[in-house]
């Protein structure tokens, strides 16, 4: 069993004038290769803060964050950008596609920053789009797509550079239950194929599919639940 992402006594403190907000408070947490983890908790409990640190968009103010065994908490902005580009994929609640780019162009964005040759990027973007069931929407713009379709594009984009970990913040939050279930089905497929998933959610359906549910409260881990019968491919979580 290998750990892909690990928080060691990680804290994130926001300084609001004279008061401190401990958005993340000495958290120790390990995510295993191939794991499907759900992160739950009330609003303001620190879910997004944790996801931002896991996604190298933010740094812990204290403690360590190890990504693929390497401490990244001291990296500079360019190095963090490289980590995001090469090892992390993001799926957002609001899809966050770039409005003036087509489906294919949106999927190509991470590959452009990885200096992938355009022809190669185009081919990979096409195959990802087809895999997400968007074969007939390749040259459409986001505004011409439904919410479910947009989220499929976002998932395809997150997979462009074959990331080690896929991070999702409320991926079904803007979708109706039927479309949400479809998206969750796609995530299941990705996890079945070995992709590590960390999903922030309020949705009990997500928790039902995950191997493990971490519940946050006031910046601390309040509860960790393992799902019986749910285990990462190739072995159970540690």
């Amino acid at each position: 069993m290998t750990a892909v992402a690990e928080l060691r006594g990680a804290s994130r403190v926001y300084q609001m004038g004279s008061t401190e907000v401990r958005a993340l408070d000495h958290v120790d947490l390990v995510f295993q290769q191939g794991e499907y983890a759900a992160i739950m908790g009330a609003s303001g409990s620190g879910k997004s803060t944790m996801l931002n640190i896991l996604g190298c968009l933010d740094r812990p103010t204290a403690g360590q964050y190890l990504l693929g065994g390497r401490d990244v908490s001291g990296l500079d902005d360019d190095e963090l950008s490289r980590e995001r580009n090469e090892r992390l994929g993001f799926v957002f609640q609001a899809y966050n596609l770039i409005p003036h780019l087509t489906v294919l162009e949106n999927i190509e964005v991470p590959m452009e920053y990885a200096e992938v040759a355009h022809a190669v990027a185009r081919e990979r973007a096409t195959s990802l789009a087809v895999r997400m069931g968007l074969g007939d929407r390749l040259h459409h713009r986001p505004t011409e797509l439904s919410g479910g379709q947009q989220q499929r594009v976002a998932i395809a984009r997150s997979l462009a550079n074959d990331p080690m970990v896929l991070l999702a913040d409320e991926p079904t939050g803007n979708l109706d239950s039927k479309t949400g279930a479809e998206i969750l089905g796609l995530l299941d497929e990705l996890n079945d194929a070995g992709r590590t998933l960390i999903v922030v959610t309020h949705d009990p359906l997500v928790a039902a599919r995950a191997h493990r549910t971490v519940t946050m409260h006031d910046g601390k881990i309040a509860r960790v639940e393992l799902r019986a019968g749910n285990a990462p491919a190739g072995g159970g979580p540690a």
Binding site: N52, G55, L57, D58, D77, D78, S81, R82, R84, N85, E86, F90, F92, N96, L97, I98, P99, H100, V109, P110, E112, Y113, A114, E115, H118, R157, N161
Partner: protein, 424 residues
Amino acid sequence: MNSRRMIALAWKSLWLHRLRSLLTVLGIVFGVSSVVAMLAIGEGASQEAQAQIRRLGSRNILLASIKPPTDEDAGQQGSRVSRYGLLRKDLRGILASVPDIARAVPRRDMPVEARVGGRKVTTKLMGTEAAYAEVANLRMQAGRFLTAAEGHARKPVCVLGDGIARKLYRNVNPVGQELRAGSHYYRVIGLLASRGEGTGGTAGAGGESDMAIFVPIETMRERNSDVAVTRSSGSFTREHVELHRITVEAANGDEKTISRVAAALRSFIDLRHKKKGDVRITVPQELIRQARESKRIFTIVLAMIAAISLLVGGIGIMNIMLATVVERTREIGVRRAMGARRGHIVRQFLAETVLLAAFGGVIGLGLGMAIPAVVTYFGWMQTVVTPFSLVLAFGISALVGVVFGLYPAARAADLDPVEALRRE
């Protein structure tokens, strides 16, 4: 991300807001087009001026008789003869006492009425010597110029300017024909080539030779007195002028010799004419220097106008780019999450600004070349668009793009990714 992809991306987002892009670059368009147009007009004017001055002869110093202002009351009385200007003994004195002179050629002008058949033209008879053709840089179209022998023999011969020949003879070759000027007859022995004054048709710089009839100065002296009578609105003006012009050619065309000769001539005239102010001394080489100097000043003024309009244009672009950054904050956050480094964001926005400015630059070049073309087409002025001005104007517009693009681009790159993603 390679630069071609970067530019394609920039083009795409500019095209998305075509009208806004166009309005944004108007400042640059006017800045660049005014640089190109004004430089073209300035260059044309300066070339025209220099050509005119060169026609006067850069080795020459021109002395001309002018009616002094103090003598004006004499004209009103109608009876008195006003006596002023260069004298024959001035010519002899100059030749004898001023050093470094190759030659000095006199000219005396007389208003006459020239007749051929039934055609009458009021013009000027110019009495001069054989060397005049060379010092005044006159070229023959047919026949030959006056000779010294004809002068000594006081022959009744003449050489016609191109303009007067056309008026008197239309399409007939005048060489060998007779003409009457005043009360005397002359045989035409030569026809001058047209001086073809600049497009503006300003008759400066010896353009007068086109309408002149040249005769040997000795012949003129024998046939006419030094007093010329002109009648204007009922009253007569009598003027006693021995010579209207002396063209002095220096032994050498270098600046030192010219200024030495000019200084000697000035003191000679001061001495002989007691500062009456009836002789004007023109040094074409000094005029060339003045023309260069005024061109330099003109260029500096233009550069300042251009700099101001480009500055305004640049600020306009910066303003729009700052608004664009705010508008696209979410996109910036997404790109950063996907792995864009700060440098990528800087380059993306810089590419847009530079492309925008260069686009304005190209439109400006087009407009800037069209304006002088129109000016020349309607014959208002001679204009010269130099390749240098095009390169300069375009280079400046691209530079404006970089300079005024850097700040918005830096603002975009410095956005915190988490904040940017949260922004609506």
